[in-house]
Amino acid sequence: MPAPNDLLRKNVRTFYAFLGSVALLGVGPIIAIRLIEGGTQWGRIAAVTIAMISWIPWIVVVIGMIRRGDEFALRVHLVGLAIAFFGLMTVLAALDWLARARFIATPDLAFVWPVGLLLWFIGIMSANHYYQRQS
């Protein structure tokens, strides 16, 4: 087990890396939208590339944070991710069929990430509550 100072240093580094990755996540789409508004073919290609690349640091930091957890933390994240994945698949399938049946217009897929993150958060909280509850 690392010494407390090493652990603190590592946690501080992770915290700043997380903040940096969130900042990139905010800046990427702003640049991408401006490029799309420019209307050129290369601008649109760059927009998609930048918007996608801006997710990578955040994904790397979050995976690193999860991997550093102990076996219980890994279990909680596994449950959380499973809930997020199957929850999101259910929502997408429902919206797809509603759109095919012409009950709704084809939905804007921008909701996928926030809903996925929300379901992940709910899954983690639920799993943690289940395992910690005395019964």
């Binding site: 087990m1 957890g69 102990d70 076996e71 219980f72 933390a73 279990r75 943690n128 289940y130 395992y131 910690q132 509850r133 005395q134 019964s135």
Partner: protein
Amino acid sequence: MKNRLRDLRADRNWSQQELGERVGVSRQAIIAIETGKFDPSLPLAFKLARVFKLTIEEIFDASGK
């Protein structure tokens, strides 16, 4: 899986945090094992047995799931 972790820890006056630090896991992991809802991996079970100077079978009861 049922276990005697809570009693063994109480006998030694160790907090959940302290036991977690001794075996290299979080306090939440110890709480989850004590509730019997989370079964530790074999390496963690060995570490727990080592800190209590007992065998795994003396701490965990596989028959009482």
